[in-house]
């Protein structure tokens, strides 16, 4: 058990190293940050001096070595764009992203699981067909388009909701929240729906598929033969067994929502980490880009670990194999 956990952690460390290298390699290939930092009026000599100061005149290996050294000492560097330590910058933007992806996750679970169950049980009904058709759209229409359509409908035409931004926020210690103000909640609605649509459709279809599989398996047929009520068959014997893959995918979706809300945050000018990341890419803000990608990797490694642990609770078969090894 503990050995298994340790192996997992070591694997996670390996992933982090690879991601770190890739993140750094990619961010140094985005162009020249110096021109963005100094502006039009800088002379050639001033540009050279800045390049030396940033260490950009060094070979790649030296630059990566320095970067790795800094990260291991817990220093993520200072943003080229804003002159703020990257750690602070990410901490400032974290609440907005967490609230957005948290709300999107909530929508995904609250709507995705029941709708999945419904479409599995009432397979032939008209409503099921409509839901499944809509879910196909949710999977295939790109996020920026959904976002713009929602803005057009609810902000421009109906003028019910604000088109962008986070509204008024309240500070609670280092955390800022928009959940406690009316304008904050109203602002959260459109972006969280936009962000949730894909994962909602995915989860819905997954729940349906898994449940259908299970409902066709022997133990369900046997339960029916025993004359158990449909309700018990669906929820006690069916759903429980269908949930395992659903938990994995839902958890990974949480990682996706958190790390890759870039498009949604840009469309809605949501001041979270995704918007920060996009601005960093445009500016070639290397410290922010590499730290953000590293952070995303940490999030995924941790989520995977939690998922693995949850299997122990959910599935007795897993428990027994881990116990034996």
């Amino acid at each position: 058990m503990i050995a298994g956990l340790l192996t997992r952690l070591l694997q996670g460390l390996g992933v982090m190293l690879v991601v770190g290298l890739l993140a750094f390699a990619v961010s140094t290939k985005l162009g020249d940050p110096v021109n963005n930092m100094l502006g039009q009026n800088a002379t050639i000599e001033e540009r050279e001096a800045m390049r030396r100061e940033l260490g950009l005149d060094q070979p790649f290996v030296v630059q990566y070595g320095r970067y790795l050294g800094r990260v291991l000492r817990g220093q993520l560097g200072v943003s080229y764009r804003l002159g703020v330590p990257v750690g602070e910058l990410l901490a400032e933007r974290l609440p907005a992203s967490v609230e957005l992806s948290g709300m999107a996750m909530l929508l995904t679970l609250v709507l995705g699981v029941p709708l999945g169950i419904y479409t599995a049980i009432r397979r032939g009904s008209l409503l099921s067909k409509v839901i499944l058709g809509a879910s196909l759209a949710g999977l295939s229409v790109p996020t920026f388009l959904t976002g713009l359509l929602l803005i057009f409908l609810f902000a421009v035409q109906l003028q019910w909701l604000p088109s962008s931004g986070r509204g008024e926020v309240v500070s609670i210690g280092p955390w800022t929240t928009g959940l406690l103000t009316g304008s904050g909640l109203r602002s959260l609605l459109l972006p969280s729906i936009t962000l949730a649509l894909f994962s909602l459709a995915l989860l819905l279809r997954l729940v349906r598929g898994e449940l259908l599989d299970v409902l066709h398996s022997d133990h369900v047929r046997f339960s029916r033969a025993r004359g158990l009520p449909e309700r018990a068959i669906h929820f006690r014997h069916g759903l429980r067994n269908a949930l395992l893959p659903v938990v994995t995918v839902a958890a990974l979706q949480l990682g996706n929502l958190l790390a890759f809300s870039v498009v949604t945050e840009t469309v809605f000018q949501w001041p979270g980490m995704g918007l920060l990341f996009l601005q960093a890419v445009q500016f070639v803000d290397v410290p922010v880009i590499s730290s953000y990608l590293l952070l995303a990797a940490v999030a995924f490694v941790l989520i995977n670990l939690v998922v693995d642990l949850s299997y122990l609770v959910l599935d007795p078969r897993v428990r027994s194999t881990v116990g034996r090894s």
Binding site: D32, L82, V84, Q159, P162
Partner: protein, 526 residues
């Protein structure tokens, strides 16, 4: 009596009306990087500075210098300028403004970590004569000192010392107190600053120019909205008074919307093509020992192959002003007589290419940015077939501005043969274009001269212009530079792009030709 009562009532109503909040909300593509006027030299940050900070001199609406924190000045000798400072000016925290602040600001702006040093680079020293008199000594006679002083921002010595921000920050330094706080003397003061979310300003009640104020707003909110469609939606849904820039393809959408209009004005920027005139062998023709662009006939052939009218009408949807000059109208030194373009004439192009020894044309890589100027990539795409028509096989290489500038500028040894660039002389003086883009010798030369155009005659003239104090003579010299450069086909100008602002009715605002919103010129009707 009743009439009088009516007037009083009306007066009271008007007073109430003008006291009611007039909040001017506006949005652009990004946020300012810092409130510190000496720590960023970037379009949006620059466009914001004049709202809270001032120099001894400022630009009026036509970009002509006028007194600001100085009331008058005179030349004691050709290199010594004596400025009388304005009395009774206070910084936003109430501290009085004196000569010490000017000396301090000069040193701060030219210090090692300042990115705004270029605007005070010609000033050798500063001397306080008394509390309200200072002297600047320039390196040589300096005809553009006053224009540069509009970008020489005065900060409070006491405040900076109190908050340990006596030096600006650039590069790997961490932010200081001045990054998120300001203490200028300008017409507006910042009351809230949430980076990447919003910046809120209110009029400074003790501004020295309040009796002549031209603004009529009680509050301003600036928001960055990166996505063009979202920005437009925010305007049309009534969340903004001004959104800029509006993409040319969205102009009809705004104009068709009741209660909104579009303001257009040529920007102080010319979009043009540059060619490598330095290498003996073109990067795209290895082994040939030839660089076609060294031959003026080839450069002229490319020029006459470009149907600039088609670009204006189709790619830019009319939102461009074609020009034959690389400096825009409104710049000191601009010569309207030279604006006319050589005619579009593909037949003449082909003939010129044949004469130059390229009857079948030649291959060239065409470097182009795709996120810097209005429709930049589309302009380049439309140029490729135009060049192909006369035999020049251009391979388009369009990429983000960070990669584009990385490739064409000196860092990569000007690794380009043909490129698109849009250049703005920010001080509205032609020298701001001549020196970095049309010369290779001397202070500050060549930083943006990616094709390394150099003509000894131009270099000589530019050296003369640098120190020529007689305005008429100076203009004549500048015209001469423009004429030579035009006949050299040193660059191939296309157009001045238009500033396009979407505005809600009832808001009066004049764009600064540098695409800056000057809050002191914004009026809102009740």
């Amino acid at each position: 009596m009743r009439r009088l009562a009516g007037l009083v009532l009306l007066g009271a109503l008007l007073a109430v009306g003008s006291a009611a909040a007039q909040t001017f909300r506006y949005a652009s593509t990004g946020d300012l990087l810092t409130l510190d006027p000496h720590s960023a030299d970037e379009a949006l940050s620059n466009s914001f500075k004049n709202n809270v900070h001032e120099g001894l001199v400022r630009f009026n609406e036509k970009l002509e210098p006028e007194p600001a924190l100085a009331v008058s000045w005179k030349n004691v000798d050709p290199v010594t300028w004596r400025f009388q400072l304005r009395r009774e000016v206070t910084f936003h925290d109430g501290t009085p403004f004196t000569a010490d602040d000017v000396v301090f600001s000069y040193n701060r702006q030219r210090s090692k970590n300042s990115v705004m040093a270029s605007h005070v680079a010609t000033i050798k020293s500063v001397r306080k004569i008394d509390d309200y008199t200072i002297e600047y000594v320039t390196v040589g006679p300096d005809p553009i000192l006053l224009r540069n002083l509009t970008e020489h921002f005065i900060v409070s010595k006491k405040w900076c010392e109190q908050h340990a921000t006596t030096e600006p920050v650039a590069g790997l330094k961490e932010e200081t107190y001045a990054t998120r706080h300001e203490n200028g003397t300008g017409p507006f003061q910042v009351v809230e600053r949430l980076p990447d979310t919003r910046t809120v300003l209110v009029p400074y009640p003790k501004w020295w120019d309040l009796p002549n104020k031209k603004y009529a707003i009680t509050r301003a909110e600036f928001r960055p909205i990166a996505n063009a469609a979202t920005r437009l939606a925010a305007l049309i849904s009534g969340e903004l008074e001004l959104a800029y820039p509006v993409a040319p393809q969205d102009v009809a959408r705004v104009e068709g919307q009741k209660g909104f209009r579009v303001i257009k004005k040529p920007e102080l920027r010319v979009v043009y093509l540059g060619m490598d005139q330095w290498r003996d062998e073109s990067l795209d023709m290895p082994g040939s020992k030839k660089n076609p662009f060294k031959d003026v006939r080839v450069r002229r052939a490319l020029y006459q192959a470009i149907d600039v009218e088609a670009i204006r009408a189709k790619v830019m949807r009319g939102m461009a002003a074609p020009t034959g000059l690389t400096i825009p109208e409104g710049t000191e030194g601009y010569d309207a007589k030279l604006r006319e373009r050589y005619p579009y004439d593909p037949a003449a192009s082909r003939k010129l290419l044949a004469e130059a020894g390229y009857p079948d044309g030649f291959p060239v890589t065409f470097d182009c940015p795709n996120d810097r100027y209005i429709n930049d990539e589309a302009i380049c795409q439309s140029l490729v077939p135009m060049l192909a028509r006369v035999g020049v096989k251009a391979t388009l290489n369009s990429q983000t501005k960070s990669k584009h500038f990385d490739k064409i500028l000196r860092k990569s040894n000007n690794n380009t043969s043909l490129f698109l660039l849009g250049f703005s002389p920010e001080t509205a003086d032609a020298m701001a274009t001549f020196v970095p883009t049309m010369t290779m010798k001397g202070e500050g030369a060549g930083a943006w001269n990616a094709g390394r155009y150099s003509n000894p005659k131009v270099e000589e003239l530019v050296d003369q212009i640098r120190v020529e104090m007689n305005q008429e003579k100076r203009r004549a010299l500048m015209s001469e530079v423009l004429r030579i450069h035009k006949e050299d086909f040193g660059h191939l100008p296309l157009h001045e792009q238009l500033i396009i602002w979407g505005v809600r009715d009832g808001v009066e605002v004049t764009p600064d030709a540098r695409d800056r919103v000057q809050l002191r010129f914004v009026k809102m009707r009740q």
